[in-house]
């Protein structure tokens, strides 16, 4: 029992991301409002971004901005600097996420203009009655 608790405490960050991701997942498949679905997708995305950032964390590490002259001499302790690569890659993911959110909101506005509602079941009903 003690072992399992220690095991969970060493990896508690993953539990947070799984919970966040499942909140987003439930919002995407369980809700009927399109805006809520989109917000769910954003929460999902945030949890993945947090997960990737956390893989680069190091205990006691500082930010990946080095003293230039010391680094040119080769005096860099890798364990004292957090991993910069996840930060860079997630910057790209954030840009794509913003684009997707923008286009999705535009499509929703168009849907609202045509059907006067953003509730999925009401839209389906109106499509059937056309």
């Amino acid at each position: 029992m003690e072992d399992i608790a220690a095991h969970i405490m060493a990896k508690y960050n993953y539990w947070i991301y799984v919970v966040l991701m499942m909140i987003g997942f439930y919002a995407m498949i369980g809700k009927r409002n399109l805006v809520k679905k989109l917000l769910g997708m954003n929460i999902f995305q945030t949890s993945i971004i947090l997960f990737f950032i956390s893989t680069g964390a190091k205990k006691g590490g500082s930010i990946p901005i080095l003293d230039k002259y010391a680094a040119l001499q080769g005096a860099v302790d890798v364990n004292q600097v957090v991993n910069p690569l996840p930060h860079v890659l997630m910057l790209t993911a954030i840009v794509v996420g913003v684009s997707v959110t923008g286009v999705a909101l535009a499509v929703m506005q168009r849907i609202y203009r045509k059907y006067g509602t953003l509730e999925e079941d009401e839209i389906l009903l109106k499509i059937e009655n056309e």
Partner: protein, 91 residues
Amino acid sequence: MKSLALLATLVTGALLLYGTADFAAWGDPQSPPNRNISVHYVEQAVKETHVPNIVTAVLGDYRGYDTMFELVVIYSAGMAVMGILRRREDQ
């Protein structure tokens, strides 16, 4: 319908939590992502690019094309939004 969604969510969450058993512990400097290619970037980025901020060095130097073509993504998204939201005369 809602209970089905909840069930799917719980099952997926349990599977993901089961999968975390193989991941490295939080903040471990010797975890696989921190041990392999990133060591080269931390040690050599300043020598190769003369940029003290490693994130900037990777974004603007090693992955310069990626950053440049990210503009295409933003541009396409902007064009798509304009095309979707434009009102014609007869509407």
